[in-house]
């Protein structure tokens, strides 16, 4: 298959996302309009009267019909204008841009944690199916997915910070005494490394550990299960028998042959896991005072700040689309068959 075909496939996938994104915009728009609470009242402040509220309602365009409002919203979107958040007073795009790195840094670290625990567990379980190792893995990961993240988070804070004092205070991305490193990627750990400031790096990492573990524990199960299942299936397939019959070493059979093939379904799961994490992020960020977009969304939702909620969901959708695109690209890199049977 030539690269042209792959580009075509990728372009196709991107385009296919357009109707979904549009669907998301519509659903979000309607959902957010259904939120109780009148933003005009919020905007008008504590001592406003009916007249000033009406004034503000007009200035926000809230007196127009829903279809009109939707068209205006779409028009703004096309210009990259997500509107101004009612609760923070900042343009939503700016707000998201500021908070996104925090969420991503946390989510990615959680993902790394999850992957580096779940995949070896899954492989270990698959190479000895039904052994005690397998059963133990199953118990561990099932327990992990059964823990409500907010519960895990709270107790981890209680134990590791409050009782044992080994974890830093759950104060967000960086402890009070440190100032954030010069922003390049806005991932504090990476920025600190780029600046060569190891103290800040360790401090930022230390803040990340508890929330990342909390978040990652929850997604161990789907990953480990998928790894185990995929490995079992691949290990029982004909070509593994061929590889063994050709005298290839155990490690070649296990990694070059079995694992690479098992990676395909794992990769697909990874997309789902990531989406899961973005959802759970909301709760974890709340527990750990993490200044990410999840906590921003909760705040916005609670105060009916629908401009912000819309923006948030849209950002999420785009993130999701990008993620799936990345996975598609990785998939085409690993699997030469992509596109023929798709």
């Amino acid at each position: 298959m030539n690269s042209n075909t792959k580009i075509r496939i990728i372009a196709g996938r991107m385009l296919q996302a357009i109707p979904s994104v549009f669907g998301i915009i519509v659903v979000t728009f309607l959902l957010t309009r259904a939120l109780p609470g009148d933003p005009a009242v919020y905007f008008a402040g504590p001592a406003a009267d009916e007249k000033s509220i009406q004034q503000i309602r007009e200035s926000l365009g809230l007196d127009k019909s829903l279809p009109e409002q939707f068209l205006i919203y779409l028009g703004d979107l096309v210009q990259g204008d997500l509107g101004v958040s009612i609760s923070t007073g900042f343009p939503v795009a700016e707000e998201l841009w500021r908070r996104l790195p925090a969420s991503l840094e946390l989510t990615l670290l959680a993902l790394i944690f999850s992957i580096s625990v779940a995949i070896p567990l899954g492989i270990a379980a698959a190479t000895r199916p039904n052994s005690w190792v397998d059963q133990l893995c199953r118990l561990i990961v099932t327990a992990g997915v059964s823990l409500p993240v907010f519960f895990t988070g709270l107790f981890m804070v209680y134990i590791f910070y409050y009782i044992l004092g080994v974890a830093p205070s759950p104060l967000g991305r960086l402890d009070i005494i440190y100032l954030s490193p010069p922003p390049i990627t806005n991932f504090y750990t990476i920025d600190a490394l780029l600046a060569g400031d190891f103290e800040v790096f360790w401090a930022a990492l230390a803040q990340l550990i508890l929330p990342a573990i909390t978040l990652g524990t929850f997604t161990l199960a789907p990953l480990a299960r998928m790894t185990r299942g995929a490995m079992l299936q691949v290990l029982s397939s004909d070509f593994i028998r061929t590889a063994r019959a050709s005298g290839l070493t155990r490690s070649t059979v296990l990694y070059t042959y079995a694992f690479r093939n098992a990676l395909l379904p794992i990769l697909t799961t990874l997309g789902m896991v990531f989406s899961f994490m973005l959802g759970s992020n909301v709760l974890v960020e709340k527990v750990f005072a993490w200044p990410g977009i999840g906590s921003f969304a909760i705040e916005a939702l609670i105060v009916s700040d629908y401009v912000a909620v819309q923006g948030f969901v849209l950002a999420m959708a785009i993130l999701y689309v990008l993620l799936n695109l990345t996975i598609d690209i990785l998939y085409t890199l690993i699997d030469p068959r992509v596109g023929l049977d798709g």
Partner: protein, 540 residues
């Protein structure tokens, strides 16, 4: 500022020797003498109090980063808590002021040598621009200015650089005190104008992000939703130089984390804790709990007169007799307040406000009243509370629910998310029975009545309407306290409130602030925000 620079500024106290410990002992941060670490549930959403949609925590920006013409004095309560004294106005930017002989204008003398952060002197023109802005922007600042009868730009005149005159529309006891609230702050008008545009003549976009003033503190950084950091403005002339060089205000959504941070010594000041935590922290004796009863404020149950049974006074009184006051006070409020029940008589003897209403838990009386009103079998009613205040209002509602069941009234509990609360309770006024926690800034019963008992007012969530109340309130609102009509009027009002009980008060809450023992100088203000200027911190 980079971290290293910051370490330098820490000076000799911590010293370079502290450096190796930093990564292991973040707890030390709170131990340093010149930095105050405050943890709070909610942070500012704007640097400009006069902007539309500015939230309550943003008031602290106005308090700490900006000056007003006048400030309030300080008094000390019995338990040692310091509190502003609304009867004593003190000079802030205005060195002195004079009320004209006819009482229809006030002339302020601007302090000599007062400068903005950028070093330019503060002039009367700045004051005029700032006041013009406050009355022109509309919304909250304008309404608040109006409360002090400050309504249009023509009232303000910059006579010369150092002289500023306010012309009054009417004589009002509220005018001068209204200059001390967080709204009429003085902006650096040159900077502001330089950043104004044709569509935005008052530079709202600029001032929203960038404070431009000359207050005791300057903004070091603001990460919305995370933290606000102040540094002292060392050339501040409008009062005693603050005792703390640097203030870090961190936003921690979880109340128990805020408590933990205080207990672990990582925070100096912890705000917004549930009453139970304050009760326990006080009990432990390890921390200072500054508790001031919130002025002009009551935790109460509001009864909406649009709801059929509540149209009858007897029903309202019956409910007032069926409230489990003591239980609420102990189990929901953890006694962090002053009881507002069990008053002696339906005829008020003082004009003290708030004061206990003449009700107590008495189910027999309640049942009798219900019977009289024709509701012997009770009725069903939703009981709503603001989810944002669930920590104490949820148990309170549960107790009320249980208690009302004893007189046959079946209450169903309805949680309403924070923002919807305003709409449902205050704008649409559609909640039949709800928890009310209003407090007026200016500490007068007539001011309370104006907002809560007058028809059509935002905070009259009870839809209460009584022509007599309207009349008396309007008459009294601008009367001086020593006016001969004042006391009788207020007593008349209170008698009506007692008898009609559209609002059943339970207790007057405390504003609790927990600090480390080493921190002193906390002062309560009606705006309930920290005024960091008075803090002092003992060096470890």
């Amino acid at each position: 500022m980079r971290r290293r620079d910051f370490i330098k500024t820490m000076g000799v106290a911590a010293g370079a020797s502290a450096l190796p410990f930093l990564k292991f002992l973040p707890a030390e941060a709170a131990g340093r003498g010149d930095t105050l670490v405050v943890v709070t549930g909610n942070g500012p959403n704007s640097m400009d109090i006069q902007r539309k949609g500015t939230n309550r925590p943003s008031y602290q920006i106005a308090v700490n980063l900006y000056d007003r013409l006048v400030g309030y004095g300080t008094k000390t309560l019995e338990d040692g808590t310091m509190m502003y004294d609304y009867q004593k106005l003190e000079p802030e930017l205005a060195e002195s002021w004079e009320v004209a002989a006819d009482g229809m204008s006030i002339m302020f003398k601007i302090r000599d040598g007062a400068t903005f952060w950028d070093g330019t002197p503060i002039t009367a023109a700045d004051v005029k621009w700032s006041f013009d802005r406050a009355v022109s922007l509309g919304g909250f600042p304008t309404v608040q200015m109006k409360a002090g009868s400050l309504e249009k730009p023509e009232q303000f005149e910059a006579v010369d650089d150092k002289t500023f005159v306010i012309k009054l529309l009417r004589k009002s006891k509220l005018t001068l005190p209204d200059l001390g609230v967080p709204v009429p702050i003085i902006f650096n008008s040159k900077v502001a104008k330089a950043n104004a545009t044709a569509e935005d003549p008052w530079a709202t976009e600029f001032l929203h992000r960038t404070p431009a003033g000359g207050g005791a503190y300057m903004l070091e950084r603001w990460d919305p939703g995370q933290q606000t950091v102040y540094t002292r403005y060392d050339d501040w002339k409008n009062g005693d130089l603050p005792g703390v060089k640097r203030v870090i205000i961190r936003e921690i959504p979880s109340a128990s984390t805020r408590r933990a941070l205080l207990e672990r010594g990582d925070a100096d000041v912890s705000l917004d804790l549930p009453p139970k935590d304050f009760a326990e922290l006080k009990e432990s004796g390890k921390f200072t709990i500054n508790a001031a009863p919130i002025e002009n404020s009551m935790i109460a149950i509001g009864l909406n007169l649009n709801f059929e049974p509540f149209k009858k006074k007897e029903v309202r009184q019956a409910l007032a007799y069926a409230m489990p006051y003591d239980q609420i006070f102990k189990q929901a409020a953890f006694e962090r307040g002053i009881p507002m029940w069990g008053g002696k008589s339906f005829t008020p003897t003082t004009i003290e406000w708030p004061q206990p209403f003449p009700y107590d838990t008495d189910y027999d009386k309640a049942k009798a009243l219900l019977k009289e009103a024709g509701y012997a079998d009770g009725f069903e009613v939703p009981l709503s509370f603001n989810l944002g205040l669930a920590q104490w209002s949820e148990p309170m509602c549960l107790l009320v629910q249980e208690s009302l069941a004893k007189i046959g009234v079946k209450a169903t509990i309805d949680k309403i998310p924070g923002a919807n609360w305003r709409t449902a309770a205050l704008v649409e006024k559609k909640l039949p029975m709800h928890v009310k926690a209003f407090g007026g800034w200016l500490n007068y019963p007539d001011y309370y009545s104006f907002w809560v008992y007058q028809k059509g007012r935002l905070f009259n969530s009870m839809n209460y309407h009584n022509p007599e109340v309207e009349k008396i309130t309007d008459e009294t609102l601008h009367l001086e306290v020593d006016h001969p009509d004042y006391e009788p009027n207020i007593k008349k009002l209170l008698a009506i409130f007692f008898d009609e009980v559209p609002l059943i008060p339970v207790y007057q809450p405390f504003l609790d602030v927990a600090t480390q023992k080493s921190v002193t100088g906390y002062e309560y203000y009606f705006h309930r925000q920290l005024d960091c200027r008075s803090f002092k911190k003992a060096t470890a």
